[in-house]
Symmetry: C2
Subunit: 274 residues, 2 copies
């Protein structure tokens, strides 16, 4: 029940029809007795800079979830941006500190990392291949670097995207070994598909699955189907896997912490949303 | 259940803790299957002009309910303001037309008028005394003029408030007979307490109740108690009465119409909110 005491979390993007967060957060808030609500706010690009500033003047706002098409723009609109968001060049969470300064972070990659950690893979000291250097690939690479991987392989058909991401990672994490230009998965502890391949029936696989060893952990970002052809092939080789939607549910506890709200587990969120 | 398709009605004011509208509108929307939600937005005066403009750039906003301390300021911030709002000098409803122009109206007085109409008193051609020329008294006087009363008596201890209101009424309704300076209720078809007298135990009555005739209809704006001393005295004289909260519930169907949403009755709203 929304009252005058309810805290707002603005969910800002456009178009709004495919927003999923309200249906994940709000049932959790209700079930956990947290007086907060995620409110979808459809905002087009020309209106966004003024709206973002204005919505954070509200006395009952606790934070904002930022989505398409504003994640990149947001980086330039805030007073303070985390290294992860800076490396990935995108923000999906904004909050206001005690002095009214707007701070931003990015939790897609954090969701991915929390998911694999809970499945038993601690990225610290490991090697990881991230195929796809777009928004989600950059986010995952940045979060893996933050989580302490020793080596990162980056690949994108647009070579400059992978190279740019690699350069930003090296700048923030000088000890990290970064390799770009190959999607050969052999020898990596962790292998991630961060391309859209798998969204559509008949998409080619993003790498040569025959070169994945059974000891590797394989993660996916595509959510349209749970068991994509990529994950099926990985499982057939005996790999442990993580499905795309785990990244979504695992990142929510990170957001909740960021907004100073009581947290929960990804499993509970998934059960409530179902 | 809030989704990306849900229409927003921003409820803007400060402080928000005493907001009642979310608990009246939202249960109705849910029960009636209307995909809309009233969202309290705490906004302080210096932030309000920019916020109002910004919130109306949202693609999924359907309207705004404006409350303290912004009702007066709003009149000067819109592209178009109804005569009722202009006379009363306050707006409590804002919407956007098809060209992005912001329009404002005021429904407190409309709620009052709808209430007495449903109780059998059509104000057309009648005489009414409105005691108190503050925000709510001005709103009721403006709505009574719009509803076609032939004569209005206005009284306020601050004489200039009553005279200013009278002048604005005469300007918009040249045929209306307006009298200011007396709170004598004798001879009026309709008598309204629009002062705060009755909010606190032991408040004096706003007029001499011995001069109210049993045929008069008596209305109240104070909501803190249902049967104020004023209404008790009126009922004791045999008058028909309207309680303060009727104005609140009766104005909501007017808002819903204004926002282009399916309407309902005040009784249903009251039952759902209870």
């Amino acid at each position: 029940m929304i009252t005058g005491n309810t805290l707002l979390i603005a969910h800002i993007g456009y178009p709004t029809f495919a927003f999923k967060s309200p249906m994940i957060y709000n049932p959790y808030f209700e079930q956990a007795g947290i007086d907060a609500v995620v409110v979808p706010m459809g905002c087009q690009a020309p209106d966004y800079p003024a709206f973002l500033r204005a919505v954070f003047t509200l006395t009952n706002i606790r934070g904002a979830l930022i989505t398409m098409p504003h994640k990149v723009t947001t980086v330039g609109l805030l007073d303070e941006v985390s290294p992860t968001a800076r490396i990935a060049g995108a923000c999906n969470a904004v909050r206001r500190d005690g002095n009214g300064r707007l701070q931003g972070d990015l939790f897609d990659g954090e969701g991915f990392v929390r998911g694999i950690r809970r499945k038993g893979l601690d990225p610290r000291g490991k090697s990881a291949l991230v195929v796809g250097s777009g928004g989600v690939g950059s986010a995952i690479a940045a979060s893996l670097a933050r989580a302490g991987v020793a080596a990162l392989g980056l690949f994108d058909l647009r070579e400059r995207a992978a190279e740019g991401l690699g350069a930003r990672l090296r700048e923030h994490y000088p000890a990290l070994r970064v390799n770009t230009g190959s999607n050969d998965p052999s020898g990596y502890d962790l292998i991630v598909n961060a391309t859209p391949m798998g969204m559509n029936e008949g998409d080619p696989l993003p790498m040569d699955m025959n070169r994945i060893s059974p000891g590797s952990f394989v993660g996916e970002v595509v959510m349209r189907t749970e068991m994509t052809a990529f994950l099926q092939a990985a499982r057939a080789r005996g790999c442990r896997i993580q499905v795309g939607s785990d990244m979504l549910y695992e990142q929510i506890p990170a957001y909740l912490e960021y907004f100073g709200l009581p947290g929960t587990s990804a499993e509970q969120l998934r059960a409530l949303a179902a």
